[in-house]
Symmetry: C2
Subunit: 331 residues, 2 copies
């Protein structure tokens, strides 16, 4: 198994990526090789700061260009064929690697994956899933920003994509699927949610547990939470900001000098950059998107997730399920 890692993606590239890569190789006994994609000189220089042994399972593929966060994703992918994202996804497309990971422009990694790996048959809108830490474990929220203006049947597709991810990657046998909504009862919500509820409830292949309100998210009452990418993205970004918000409240008390450990604990527990990145589900390959601010641990986690997705045959499972779904809708 070979996994390509965009070495030029994160805010502290390539140092962070390479530390994450070395860490991941240390923890896994020969299961995979890593292909670092990016500026060869910079990568080699950084690699020399690590033990020579880690070099044995690392290949480097030169990519002279880099896509900036400010660029229009779809244009950048086309205009910069030599970018680390385009080169890495090209390797994946040609079967030279089995997965691709980037902490660079989310939009470009997504646009590139759609263009080069293509949506799987039966998938109208590949979706980005994000893991939310909750009091009851992790919940995969999808779509978390790739797709806005979705229709009800897209949410059903997201449910299937998420269900397979939860089975293969989170080890959950019959994942509980929730629909993000503004009331508990069927019939609540906007037109999209009302119809999505009906479709999800009628889908016997899903373990649909019903509507999940905003206040229920932190309790982790479902494993997969489906929603349109607009509300998913607002929720995700709000979630990412609360740790700092709460730490701010604790630190703002001038009469208490002992709040710091508690502020730190909250920041640590909810540190999303530690998590392993968000999978793009429904394309013909394994793409994992990491935060620009990822520390090495997040890159390492993303590599492990990618390896597991390949090992468990996640893409094949999604392909099988989605064509079955498409056949059923056609029938």
């Amino acid at each position: 198994m070979r996994i390509a890692l965009d070495a030029m993606g994160s805010d502290n590239a390539p140092a962070v990526e390479i530390r994450g890569a070395v860490e991941a190789l240390k923890g896994s006994a020969g299961v995979f090789r890593l292909v670092l994609v990016g500026d060869q000189v910079a990568i080699e220089a950084e690699l020399r700061r690590h033990p020579a042994s880690s070099r044995e399972r690392i290949d480097v593929v030169h990519a002279p260009q880099r896509i900036e966060m400010s660029e229009s994703p779809a244009q950048a992918i086309r205009r910069k064929p030599g970018s680390s994202i385009a080169v890495g996804l090209g390797l994946h497309k040609r079967g030279e690697v089995d997965a691709f990971i980037s902490a660079g422009s989310t939009g470009a990694a997504m646009a590139g994956s759609l263009l080069m790996l293509r949506p799987l048959p039966g998938v109208d809108r590949p979706a980005v899933g994000t893991l939310f830490p909750t009091l009851g474990g992790q919940t995969l929220v999808l779509d978390s920003g790739a797709n806005v203006d979705t229709r009800p049947h897209h949410l059903v597709q997201f449910a299937h994509l998420g269900s397979i991810y939860a089975e293969d990657l989170m080890g959950i046998e019959t994942p509980r699927i929730g629909l993000l909504n503004i009331g508990e009862e069927p019939g609540k919500g906007d037109e999209r949610a009302v119809e999505a509820y009906r479709l999800l409830a009628a889908d016997t292949r899903l373990n649909f547990v019903g509507n999940i309100e905003g206040r229920d998210v932190v309790w982790g009452n479902c494993d997969v939470l489906v929603c349109d990418g607009f509300v998913g993205n607002v929720l995700l970004k709000f979630y990412e900001s609360i740790a700092e918000f709460i730490a701010g409240i604790l630190r703002n008390d001038p009469d208490d000098g002992n709040a710091e450990p508690y502020a730190k604990r909250i920041l640590d527990t909810l540190d999303y950059t530690k998590l392993g990145g968000a999978p793009l589900l429904g394309v013909g390959g394994v793409t994992i998107i990491c935060h620009g601010g990822s520390p090495p641990r997040a890159i390492c986690n993303a590599i492990q997730i990618a390896a597991q997705a390949v090992e468990r045959g996640m893409v094949r499972h999604i392909e099988r399920e989605m064509s079955r779904l498409a056949e059923m809708s056609a029938a």
Copy 2:
């Protein structure tokens, strides 16, 4: 000035309502009288537990029925003309009181207000505004649940409604209006957000500060944040749950027995039940909706807000602004 208070609304009615009422009267020197609406026997019994002096500025209007949370709001209002909500709004409709407050069924208070107070000319969709505590003060988020499937011009109306509320009730001269969105730049978001941005930016009567992402909400970079009621409601309910979530994280550490004061401080700071209730903006009257779990302090705050809204002529200001807006759109 007379303010009607649904005495049968909250989870602990009428005790909580009456304590809140007595508190509000104590704090204000003869500005208003309160009309308690509900079961006369229960109200009188509860009033006897308070000093007789507070009775001087309280009237009681009997309402034999009560709308339950489980009832369909629109039906309940029609089927229970003797409910505290219907009777209270009836008083407002006939001009016998100047404002109405309820901690009962939000849906019923809203449906009743639409039916009996009617939307003001030029207001397609009256909206519920909710105050979010932020690190930079309070932000009024609207719509926070009354309106789903909104169109872009509805969001512009929300912006005007919120702007006047912020001027009259929050004392802000030129309130900063933000659009809840999934990116900073114009052109980001779903179809509704893209078009709403264009309309808001072109509206010279608004101090539009642009898109506000989920992560920006807690910083309080705007005074009024407009959005469709679906995402607004998800965000609001999520917000309401984070205090308990974070307190749970702090309390869950078995090695630390000293976390409790910090958990409590977070719960206190973000205790939404303390806030004074959510105004329904755009109807021909002052309706304030409180949480079912409101403590007396929240009822007291809601009474003060209602009094201020009447005193400042909020409804007249909204009426003037919305008809001007309607004329401009027609021109």
